[in-house]
């Protein structure tokens, strides 16, 4: 198992008390697998991803649980050891390629910087490597592009650069946090295609954070659905889409507008809205919006259970 997250919880100290944002999250990621964590805004999916890189810098954050990377708990690692992992064995690409690159350095310099941190390559070799990486990203005139500044490139190009940078030290784990959300749909298709191709070439596992069920369906091997800081359901992508066992997953899938197939007159919407972190109910966070709600749902949160297919719902078997 490349990555084994066990009972991860993240909360923030605030003037109003402790704010639990991620609660008791556990999942595994095998070698060269793509796991998608899918959820709506505020579900805690991005924080989960950042905590794996230990990139939550807020001094008020409290992180508990275990994050085992190649068997080692990275939450207990010393900072220098963590730095060697970051950008080396694990790398991350972010949502907004427009702001994720330092504006005052050239593309090439920024990739070279990363290579030089993690390898002993001299600058000229690092530069060659950066150019060949850019070429591998489908950038035609890599040599030219590496001399450009970020603002001179389009969003899609910048995301390719980000990916090239992330893959520059052949990471075992690539975390992609909403990598295409800021891009147009035709460019999104290019980037997703590229990620799938690179996974094979670099033999990296990918943790894909997204809100788009379409992207999940087209790319992920397995999927974990998050709602209000907890995993509602996880399993193989095909299973989840064919037979959602959590009422939230079922509702979410039904609410997606369909491009193909017949036009329907009304969407099936889930009533209400997800709770804010400070107003989560004591029991299941989805209960107030749930059609399958029973008395016990308001009392305690259901735990994620099951061997391969995991669901956190008291009535998991009954959801059609």
């Amino acid at each position: 198992m490349l990555l084994d997250v066990q009972n991860l919880s993240i909360s923030f100290r605030t003037p109003r008390g402790l704010l639990p944002v991620v609660e008791d999250v556990s999942f595994q990621l095998a070698e060269s697998e793509i796991l998608a964590i899918v959820g709506e805004s505020g579900s805690g999916k991005s924080l989960t991803a950042l905590s794996i890189m230990r990139l939550i810098t807020d001094p008020n954050a409290i992180i508990t649980g275990k994050i085992l990377f190649k068997g080692e708990d990275i939450l207990t690692l010393k900072e220098p050891a963590m730095r060697r992992l970051r950008g080396g064995a694990m790398a991350m690409i972010f949502q907004d390629p427009m702001t994720a690159l330092t504006p005052v350095y050239t593309i090439g310099a920024q990739i070279v910087e990363q290579i030089r941190i993690h390898t002993k390559l001299p600058t000229w070799q690092a530069r060659l490597r950066a150019e060949s990486l850019l070429a591998a990203m489908g950038i035609a005139d890599a040599q030219q592009i590496s001399r450009r500044f970020p603002h001179q490139l389009s969003g899609g190009m910048r995301q390719r650069v980000m990916i090239a940078m992330a893959l520059s030290c052949s990471p075992a784990l690539l975390i992609a946090d909403e990598p295409t959300t800021a891009l147009d749909v035709t460019v999104q298709a290019q980037i997703l295609e590229l990620l799938l191709k690179l996974r094979k070439e670099f033999n990296s596992s990918i943790l894909l954070i997204t809100h788009d069920m379409g992207i999940v369906a087209q790319t992920a091997d397995r999927v974990a659905v998050m709602y209000a800081g907890r995993i509602a359901e996880s399993g193989a992508t095909g299973d989840i889409f064919a037979h959602p066992m959590h009422p939230y997953t079922a509702g979410l899938l039904a609410a997606i507008p369909q491009l193909h197939g017949p036009r329907i007159n009304a969407f099936s919407a889930i009533p209400g809205a997800p709770p804010a972190p400070h107003e989560k109910p004591a029991g299941c966070a989805f209960a107030p919006r749930c059609a399958y709600r029973i008395a016990v749902c308001a009392e305690r949160p259901p735990l994620l259970h099951g061997p391969f297919r995991q669901v956190a719902c008291f009535r998991a078997g009954e959801v059609a």
Binding site: E40, V185, Q188, E193, G214, I215, A217, G238, L252, A255
Partner: protein
């Protein structure tokens, strides 16, 4: 066929950015180029395209929030293109707008009741009690409670704020609402609520919508007709089913093919468009799509295709339609 409620003829709009002798020089961004369309009462016309295609500019120009450089806008039989803001004011009650980001389009310093009452007061709807009654009626229509009137916009969730925006837009019983990406800032489960609410309101109040979105699936479900835009021009316009199921323009086809389908069983090799849209400051000559088009030929580089009828209920701007 009934008369169109809104007609746009050959609208063009160019924005200027930068200074002539400033660093980077002066740029002319051609946001709209010869755009024509008709909107019929009671229908929902979808406007779809990628960022920078001019769909929002078109929406705002139709409402005269921007003045077009050329062309004509005829709303309910009146030419409003050169009308002064003062003369336009009574007509404004009949055409409204819903914005993408409700937290930006609602003044954060004013209470919800005050915000929704603004159009009523400006158009002399009536006495205080009459306005109050109307406010409560509106809140009910959009699925909010009357006690929400005394709160500030930031106390609401995104979906609720969009309901407030809708309440304000329908306050004066308009006939046309232009909704600029009304659901793209919302999560999927909330998106559906708002699309449903808009459909309900359309039925109850005889509204006509122009629904602007970048999400083809939303348009597919929300609009009967759709216009696909690329770099400031309409490349294809027609019945949603026709356009989406059997696209005639190569760009429409590529766009549809690029949308990831939420069905893992249907993973397929897609036709992926290469490159990215050229800058609107420097659009290519001829057909604007020819730089990325898989079927482009010599003629496409020089001769701009006009929108021409193609089959039933559809027009396409392509020399070699699918």
């Amino acid at each position: 066929m009934t008369a169109p409620i809104l007609i746009a003829e050959n609208l063009s709009k160019t924005f200027h950015a930068g200074r002539r002798f400033g660093p980077g020089g002066r740029q002319n961004i051609q946001a709209l180029s010869n755009v024509s369309l008709k909107v019929y009462p009671g229908e929902t016309l979808g406007l779809v395209g990628e960022s920078g295609c001019g769909k929002s500019t078109l929406g705002r120009t139709l409402l005269k929030l921007y003045t077009p450089d050329a062309g004509k806008i005829i709303f309910q039989g009146q030419d409003i293109t050169r009308m002064s803001e003062r003369a336009l004011r009574p007509l404004r009650a009949n055409m409204q707008m819903v914005f993408q980001d409700p937290s930006a389009s609602l003044n954060p310093r004013r209470r919800v009741g005050d915000l929704i009452a603004e159009p009523l007061r400006v158009h002399n709807y009536g006495a205080r009690e009459k306005i109050q009654a109307r406010l409560e009626e509106l809140m009910h229509l959009v699925g909010l409670a009357p006690e929400h009137l005394s709160r500030f916009p930031h106390e609401f969730s995104g979906g609720q704020r969009q309901r407030i925006g809708l309440a304000r837009a329908i306050a004066l019983n308009p006939s046309l609402i232009i909704a600029d990406e009304p659901v793209s800032a919302l999560d999927v489960s909330i998106q559906a609520q708002i699309v449903n609410l808009m459909a309900d309101l359309q039925e109850q109040l005889d509204l006509t919508y122009i629904f602007i979105a970048h999400d083809l699936a939303v348009i597919r479900q929300a609009a009967e007709r759709v216009a696909v835009m690329y770099l400031g021009v309409i490349v294809e316009i027609g019945d949603t089913d026709t356009v989406m199921l059997t696209p005639a323009h190569h760009y429409t086809a590529a766009l549809i093919s690029a949308v990831p389908e939420p069905n893992p069983a249907a993973r397929r090799a897609r036709t992926i468009l290469q490159g990215e849209p050229p800058s609107p400051a420097n659009p290519p000559p001829g057909c604007r799509f020819h730089t990325r088009c898989p079927a482009a030929q010599g003629r496409c580089k020089t001769e701009r295709p006009e929108l021409r009828p193609y089959g039933e209920n559809r027009e396409v701007a392509c020399h070699f339609p699918l």
